[in-house]
Subunit: 244 residues, 2 copies
């Protein structure tokens, strides 16, 4: 699929121009980064969702000092996270804000969202839940989602440093893109898979504790006192997380 | 070393009764959980620290809505995290608080602190930095600490669920306890060690962005709307993170 076709298909699904462009930007970023499982293939997948509501929009439903809770209200999780990022850019944290989103699915390539915040100088940590796909390391049925953790850091040299780690050996996106086997939907780490399982479970229960049992997201954004980081200078010439 | 001797040695190092008992509780918890690297062996290690100041105490130096920054002021990181937990218990988050600690080292078994918060119904995520021990997966000098991530969740059945994951294949504590080889101080995950490296780096730069380049800690605590979790009931009879 070419970029023009991707954008046209999103419009054809019924999304307004702004939402279509927000979705396109995410899928196109994924394609450019070689993460096909989060790319254009998802547009065909969206068309198969029985309850897709292209007119739905998220709402900021609760504000407390340093805290926000959003409700996706049937909108795609991508659009909820985009709205949260817009709001953080417009009203920067002073200096920290915890943002919770309930009914927020799918959320895509989480690095996309924290990179956007890093581009305006904010440090962010983001996780999100998804259907149970990973079993306990001892076996059994799937108990936890691949529940990625993304951390974005503004960098004094070059692009932001963006860690974006799924707790699965592979991602569900890569499975539906035909690039990985469903058998690899286990916690990563081989002999130490209990570590990735523990992280996936901890992150899942963290999200559930604030967002309820629907899929949700948990974000912490900070306007940092120190930075942007000089880590690229310290590290020398190595590939760092988020580099293409 | 027996518990009585451990406590006596802490007093002999010059710690006041309250601090000695706080430190003992941490080391003793580590021993009981089979994490000898964070246990009594650390008491002998403390005695070797050239700048150990048993009279130092941390201070809450900056408060903003939903945010606190603490300065360890030369106190052991254990004592700074204990003071932060005391303060969170006394003044619960409404509903979320980001707490940063600078000059906060060593911090020990992070699960100990989030478990304490989970015991009073708070959900918490905690990370902390430590000296560079882990190289890039492609090799080279150590670039990042083992930078563990701990998440504690109150549970409706049984003990809290506590994920506490070091990003190293082994911990420095286990190396100094003689239970692991220094060669295993690499990111965990084998073929996917880039994932643990990315997490260790992201967490480290997150802490540095708020705490500066001294070692520090970053904690998010939430008084959750939902919970305690019923996950033990959903999961069936499996060993969950933090279970002995």
């Amino acid at each position: 699929m070419q970029p023009d076709e991707a954008l046209a298909r999103l419009r054809a699904l019924g999304f307004g121009e702004g939402d279509a462009r927000t979705l396109f930007a995410h899928f196109d970023d994924a394609e450019r980064r070689g993460k096909a499982g989060h790319g254009y293939t998802r547009i065909e997948w969206l068309a198969t969702l029985p309850d897709l509501d292209p007119s739905a929009s998220p709402v900021l439903e609760l504000e407390r000092p340093g805290f926000e809770r959003w409700d996706g209200r049937g909108a795609l999780g991508y659009l909820t996270l985009a709205a949260i990022c817009d709001h953080l850019v417009a009203r920067r944290p002073e200096p920290a804000r915890v943002v919770v989103a309930r009914r927020c699915f799918p959320t895509g390539m989480l690095g996309h969202w924290v990179r956007r915040l890093a581009d305006v100088g904010l440090v962010a940590l983001l996780t999100a839940t998804s259907p149970p796909r990973l079993p306990h390391p001892d076996g059994g049925p799937p108990l936890v989602g691949t529940n990625p953790l993304a951390i974005g850091i503004p960098s004094a040299q070059g692009a932001p440093i963006v860690a974006d780690v799924s707790m699965g050996k592979t991602t569900y996106g890569d499975v539906i893109a035909g690039q990985a086997s469903a058998e690899d939907l286990v916690p990563f780490g081989g002999e130490q898979a209990h570590k990735a399982f523990a992280l996936a479970l901890g992150l899942q229960l963290l999200v559930e504790s604030v967002a309820g049992e629907d899929y949700g997201a948990f974000l912490v954004a900070v306007d940092p006192e120190h930075g942007p980081t000089d880590f690229r200078g310290r590290a020398g010439d190595v590939r760092l997380p988020g580099d293409r």
